[in-house]
């Protein structure tokens, strides 16, 4: 599956996305850890607090659906194709 990076995270990593292996049962959190390994850069703490919850303004979407309304980082990726990762951002 594809893990896409946005906003300051994209600028920090210098890549728009990476592909990770996603076997059945893999969680979103595990997929993001694999994406960290793939980029060679640590960014988990840019997105999540110590409880694994996204900071205000940050979000992780699984095929567009926010994992905050599912099981957070424990949400199984299922047959989703894309994870979108956003660090805190906002505007109007």
């Amino acid at each position: 599956m594809t893990v896409k990076f946005f906003a300051t995270l994209k600028l920090k990593l210098g890549v728009a996305s990476v592909e990770v292996d996603a076997e059945p049962g893999l969680s979103v959190g595990q997929a993001i850890k694999r994406a960290e390994q793939s980029t060679g850069r640590s960014f988990w703490s840019d997105i999540f607090d110590k409880q694994g919850k996204t900071f205000p303004g940050g979000m992780v979407l699984l095929d567009g659906a926010n994992i905050a309304h599912q099981n957070g980082v424990d949400t199984p990726v299922g047959d989703a194709e894309t994870i979108s990762v956003f660090p805190p951002a906002g505007g109007g």
Partner: protein
């Protein structure tokens, strides 16, 4: 007490200028700025008048925190009866002009009547004069600004002015200050143009009186630290500005394209805030008066053109909404609107409406006078029709009325994406139920900054709400509308609310004014302001039947993305909203509600 204690009353018909005491006793009930000015407008203007007649009044207002060192304390508001909606018009701008009006010694300027010839108002502390503006009438915003600063003899003088669009009474003309900052929405620039008033130039060196300046400074330091420590205001907005939202909103499946016919846009990454950085167009960010966030974008294009922006809404309205994503075209169109004094949201949404009508055969090719075809994806059309609108040439004369009147003129108002005749911003209601309600019941029509429910529904600030849920949303809308009225009226920027809460604003307002109101009392002032604005609209003939959305959002489900199949669920929420507001079930306002809030 934070107020300068004096307001200017300028009669443009007979040229008289009066310096009246600011009614500070009313500030305990209406805060200042938006609230106090709306109160004065209600006292002095019949809501049923023609907005562009000399009977209308135009009020430039600062808040008690303007010209203080409170974070973002430089804003001002323009309040009047608006030509676009026919109801309360109220538009808010940053930069430094607001602070400088107070430095000149004045909390508000009330403009009455109509000058027999083009003039501008010069406010240099005690020296206040109406001056001839024949030499800048017809000029664009940058030339007007430079000319009037030079004439003032004060390099730091600040100019708030209209461009050709305001002079030509385009119904969504903006008022621009410091060339790039806009009181953009609700057509306040047209009212200024109708009065033959080109500009207000301000300068001074006065400080706002604060009861205990040291205590206030210490208090403010804490609030600034909170803003800087927040991920949105301390990191996201400074680095990428509001345009960071392009991908966020698109990935969430609620980024309207092709006049809201689609809820996503495939080329978003090519014109996003990230792209602005990656292509090297973004040179630096900058901030308004006393702003610790500094979200303004300073851009230079490969063609050498420089300017500020685009903000998120503008980039969307001049790109994906019209079916293209050329950042050069988007930025140049933004610069053009700033020069001409046009609201970018209403301008873009009106052209999108015309494109859909043209593609569906309602507008004939011969009506375009050999101009570019109004088809989605045709970026050539954008600058051409912006210019035509501003100068009211050809079909631009009809477009200058906004999309509702334009589409209605062809018998197809359903293509106008408006609420109360004002064009909608860049969040599709089918993907975010609370924000859709915010549009539907907004006092100034389709608008996103009077109750920005995107914060909780999408950004998770202060907590994450499910954007498709309807239960409990109206309580959030109620609180956001009231709190935003307080923030606007205080003279601060709404962006501070990503980091600060109601108690923080109450702290700063009490410390600045010397009032001793509880947070609940300040929020009640916000509720009072909201109800007063609603009452103005009801008296103007804008009834509860306008508390709705374009049919598209009920009849045409989202076609793709995470919101596929969704429509807006307004009927499930509107009765609850009326109930929370204490209004009648039909949306009218009981006299007892006005009395309970102490609205005379």
């Amino acid at each position: 007490m934070a107020f300068m204690g004096t307001m200017l009353r300028v009669n443009l018909t007979d040229g008289t200028i009066k310096k009246d005491p600011t009614p500070i006793e009313l500030a305990k009930k209406y805060v200042g700025g938006r609230g106090l000015a709306t109160r004065l407008l209600m006292n002095e203007v019949d809501p049923t008048i023609d907005a562009l007649s000399p009977d209308n009044k135009l009020i430039f207002a600062t808040g008690p925190l303007s010209n203080t060192n409170a974070p973002t304390g430089g804003r001002y508001m323009v309040i009047t009866k608006g030509p676009l909606t026919g109801g309360i018009a109220s538009s808010n701008s940053g930069g430094e002009w607001g602070a400088y009006l107070k430095k000149a010694g004045y909390d508000l300027v009330i403009l009455e009547g109509k000058s027999p010839k083009p003039v501008y108002l010069s406010v240099m502390e005690d020296d206040v004069q109406i001056k001839d503006a024949a030499h800048v009438w017809g000029k664009r915003v940058p030339e007007t600004t430079d000319t009037l600063i030079a004439e003032s003899g004060q390099k730091k003088a600040k100019v708030s002015c209209i461009g050709p669009a305001g002079e030509n009474l385009v119904m969504f003309a903006s008022i621009m200050n410091e060339k790039h900052r806009a009181a953009g929405r609700t057509g306040v620039g047209a009212v200024m143009g109708s009065k033959n008033l080109k500009a207000i130039v301000v300068h001074g060196n006065k400080k706002s009186p604060i009861p205990d300046p040291n205590a206030f400074r210490d208090l403010v330091k804490g609030k600034i630290a909170t803003i800087k420590a927040n991920g949105i205001t301390g990191e996201g907005l400074p680095k990428l500005g509001t345009k960071v939202l392009d991908n966020i909103i698109n990935e969430n499946g609620m980024y309207p394209s092709r006049n809201f016919q689609d809820v996503m846009y495939d080329g978003t990454s090519h014109m996003s805030g990230e792209a602005l950085v990656e292509k090297g167009y973004l040179k630096r960010n900058s901030g308004c008066y006393m702003c610790p966030i500094a979200c303004a974008r300073n851009v230079e294009l490969p063609n050498g053109r420089k300017g500020e922006g685009p903000e998120y809404e503008t980039g969307w309205a001049f790109g994906p909404l019209l079916g293209f994503h050329d950042l050069n075209v988007i930025c140049d169109a933004n610069f053009l609107c700033n020069d001409l004094g046009l609201d970018t949201i209403s301008a873009g949404v009106t052209i999108a409406c015309a494109m859909e009508m043209y593609e569906k055969g309602y507008i004939k090719k011969e009506e375009l006078d050999n101009g570019p075809e109004l088809t989605f994806g045709n970026s050539e059309a954008l600058p051409y029709y912006l210019y035509k609108m501003a100068y009211r040439e050809g079909i631009g004369d009809k477009l200058a009325q906004g999309s509702f009147r334009f589409a209605t003129g062809y018998g197809c108002p359903e293509f106008s994406m408006t609420c109360k005749k004002q064009e909608l911003p860049a969040y599709d209601p089918r993907g975010v139920q609370g924000m859709g309600m915010s549009y539907a019941v907004g006092n100034r029509g389709g608008d996103h900054v009077r109750s920005y429910l995107i914060a909780p529904e999408i950004l998770g600030s202060p907590e994450k709400l499910d954007p498709q849920a309807v239960e409990g949303k109206m309580q959030w809308l109620f609180i956001f509308q009231n709190l935003t009225a307080v923030i606007d009226s205080s003279g601060l920027c709404l962006f501070t609310s990503f980091a600060l809460g109601a108690d923080d604003y109450a702290d700063m307002l009490n410390a600045a004014t010397g009032f001793d109101l509880t947070t609940a009392q300040w929020l009640e002032a916000g509720e009072r302001i909201w109800n007063m604005e609603r009452n103005f609209n009801l008296l103007a003939g804008i009834g509860p039947e306008t508390d709705t959305l374009p049919r598209r959002f009920f009849d045409e489900p989202a076609q793709r993305g995470p919101n596929k199949g969704k429509v807006h669920r307004l009927p499930e929420m509107l009765p609850e909203y009326y109930q929370l507001r204490g209004w009648n079930a039909d949306g009218t306002m009981p006299q007892a509600k006005l009395e309970a809030l102490g609205i005379e």
